[in-house]
Symmetry: C2
Subunit: 199 residues, 2 copies
DNA sequence: ATGCTTATATGATGATCATCATATGGAGCC
DNA sequence: GGCTCCATATGATGATCATCATATAAGCAT
């Protein structure tokens, strides 16, 4: 039954993809099983053939459903490395495009607050995601491992915090806060003052 | 009817205080009208004598209910000013105590993600809150107004982002990320490299 | 073609929730 | 002491939701 197994696992992936988008757009509580299944082109009943519970889906999305994001995001500048990679990362992360598309963007600014209130399971899945991306970015920082990680942690906090706040503010601060964070983040990553033009 | 009016406005404030705590502990969706009223020592029915709707409560809490936080938080170092105030602010914000007490702490790391998904009204209330705190902190930065604001925006993004992530991570990164953010944030605010001991 | 397997659909069920209509009970006034 | 007002309580109502039991229908082997 390889044909059937394929179908099932493809459906599984489609549910995951729909959930990944809806969770970022409306939060974990805000996205219902019914509306996720509808977006995946199915009805609500079949859900439990794929997942034990909604919590199970949440954990699986956090664990693997967001990986496409960083891949797609970072694929755009895979030709770059070192300082140029870091500049592209900061500028893209704090760009107008990312500001306006939370549903296909980084999950941290939208979901970390909610995840922090949930059980150990989801938080551990998130920690794994964080470690993977931390390692990737730190590889582009020109400094010993621990110092590189330190700088990336500081810069990621800054970028995620700024994007989260920029999406909430309704005035000119929405742009100013992203520009301020971008300049400070790139300076931290490079180890010297520099300015970034956010896209 | 001054006695009665007093009673009503006091009850109003008590509902607000309970909501303020529960929203930070469980999110806007996660805290029900019923449980908020229970915490205020009342039953759910009386709620609509005080607020038009739950959305109304949310907006009012964002608009004013959180002000006590910064006051209580910053009251601890009202004797300080300038650089010392900034050091105390950063160290306190990223402290273990604040990490563990989201329900009485800064609303940004817990609620900004959810607010960004809501209507204009709540986001405008949040913007007002943000402006007030920005002005307060910028007053302690030794730089021209615009530059002071720029540095505070960068530092606040970093501190709020780091606290949000630290509350989500389950490993040693929870402490490391706060220390990294604290060091970079204070350096930005002071305009020169410095280290902070988070409490 | 027939019967079995399995993915998905239909249609409950019970819980929770925001909201509202109506009831109660106490405070202040005659 | 009885009347009135108003803050709060009681008890619906209808909606939404996660979950589950059962039904269908399409694929595959015989």
């Amino acid at each position: 039954m390889p044909v059937e197994a394929d179908r099932k696992s493809q459906t599984h992936r489609e549910i995951l993809a729909a959930a990944s988008r809806q969770f970022r757009a409306h939060g974990f509580e805000g996205a219902s099983v019914g509306s996720i299944m509808r977006e995946a082109g199915l009805t609500h009943g079949g859900f439990y053939a794929h997942f034990e519970s909604k919590d199970d889906l949440v954990a699986e999305v956090i664990g693997s459903g967001f990986d496409d994001v960083s891949e797609r995001f970072e694929a755009g500048f895979d030709a770059l490395s070192g300082e140029d990679w870091l500049r592209a990362w900061v500028a893209g992360y704090l760009s107008d495009g990312h500001l306006r598309s939370p549903d296909i963007g980084c999950p941290m600014p939208v979901l970390a607050g909610e995840i922090s209130r949930t059980g150990e399971r989801s938080r551990e899945a998130f920690t794994g995601l964080f470690e993977r991306r931390l390692a990737k970015a730190a590889g582009h920082v020109d400094a010993p491992r621990r110092e590189a990680e330190r700088r990336v942690m500081a810069a990621v906090s800054q970028a995620a915090g700024a994007l989260m706040l920029a999406r909430t503010l309704t005035n000119r601060r929405s742009k100013e806060i992203r520009q301020a964070a971008a300049d400070e983040a790139i300076s931290t990553l490079l180890g010297r003052p520099e300015t970034v033009r956010i896209k």
